[in-house]
Amino acid sequence: MKQQLSVEHLLGIKYLNKNDIDLIFETANNFKEVINRPIKKVPSLRDITIANLFFENSTRTKLSFELAEKRLSADVINFSASQSSVKKGETLIDTVNNILAMKVDIVVMRHPNVGAGVFLSKHVDAKIINAGDGTHEHPTQALLDSYSIKEKLGTVKGKKVVIVGDILHSRVALSNIFALKLQGAEVKVCGPTTLIPKHIRSLGVEVETNIKKALEWCDVANVLRVQHERMDIKYFPSTREYTQLFGINKEILDNLGKKIVIMHPGPINRGVEITSDVADADQSIILNQVENGVAVRMAVIYLLAQQIKR
């Protein structure tokens, strides 16, 4: 197998091919072993500096990236928009170039605007890793989701995955659709019609509006949070109604006649899209996703850093 990624940056899953995903997963297997050692650190990236630029709030992605970078022995600087000159009117390129002037090799960026990572990759001289750009893509989340499915079920190919919830505002959904299709999975989306993008079928995805039918069909349900913060208008009458129509509870799962895998990218709104007993059930792999996130991000950073020549 080819040992090098076909891309220079990780801007989205849509730029990757199947070999890239296989290579990332194989490398992640090695790092998963590393992070379960008594001493969870390797010196590979000791001369690499990484800047984490978060122009939008994040808890677990930021922690996961920072931990991944530190486990690889990289030097890490953190930046969040709330405490920065962005508020004073500085442009994105200026902000990033100022940071790069301090000799930074890799930029991990989350930004509220779609395409911010692609834009930056064309204007600055550093490796860019997209940690979420608006409602567009969140590639490392999709990679860790697929990795977790593969770990649990042995393969992604041929598996039936339903993505439930707010598809319209979800970068996790789009990246997951790209990643799952690339690996040969069947994908359905399920949610209120107002929260399903109009042309989603053009991605080779089916739409299901009945949660019970969707769950009966699938092997894996990836449940998304309703992103109230991105909603400028009302997309459904009330949270209670959403929960009644699309919430996943123990009773629905017990009546399926099979055990499906439950995933959630977090943060969970317990009692809204998923009840507590489902989130904590043994068929839920939510915390495995978090653990795998560190290994997968280590793999992505390692493989991109491998391309940096001095």
Partner: protein, 179 residues
């Protein structure tokens, strides 16, 4: 290109038994000793020695681990070909143990240097020894010498020592290849 046989399978078998005996001399019942094969190529030698110790010399409970050193190498990003990682399988701690690192060919010593760093992730060993099948003299970049060696070879730098294991290549053999 010519390929010369350095050791045939019979000679390799004799050497492996000698190395096993030398290990027994220093490590008795192996209760405080762990064998660590360096991935990928040292693992064949390590497994072979472990099986000789277990079946021919009836030593019970040999601790055998396989260590991948890819992430500890000093030539990351400095070579043309990307590095390929393999698995590490060490399911025990090496705290206060006698560690024997095992590799097929000792050349520059850089892999062993990386292994010495890598092994620290599993605890602080009591001491560390090095066993190699082929020790190439005059080619070291670092002050590293083996404690146990199968055969010492004076090969010039352009020559390549190629180890074939029957698990991979149908028979055991070691060649010197001068291009």
């Amino acid at each position: 290109m010519s390929k010369k046989v350095l050791l045939n399978s019979k000679e390799i078998d004799i050497i492996l038994h000698r190395l096993a005996c030398q290990l027994i001399e220093n490590h008795n019942d192996f209760s405080e000793t762990v064998l660590i094969g360096l991935q990928p190529r040292g693992s064949f030698l390590a497994k072979r020695l472990a099986s000789i110790l277990t079946y021919d010399y009836k030593i019970k409970d040999i601790h055998l681990g396989l260590l991948d050193i890819t992430f500890y190498r000093d030539d990351f990003r400095r070579r043309d070909e990307p590095l390929e990682a393999t698995n590490t399988q060490i399911d025990f701690l090496i705290e206060n143990k006698n560690v024997v690192l095992i590799d097929d060919v000792l050349f520059s010593g850089r892999s062993v240097r990386a292994a010495l760093t890598a092994i620290q992730s599993y605890g602080r060993p009591e001491n560390v020894e090095l066993l190699v099948l082929i020790d190439r003299r005059f080619s070291r970049h670092l002050p590293i010498q083996p404690n146990y060696r199968g055969r010492q070879v004076d090969a010039i730098n352009e020559e390549k020592v190629i180890v074939h294991w029957k698990e991979l290549h149908s028979k055991d053999a070691i060649y010197i290849d001068n291009k």
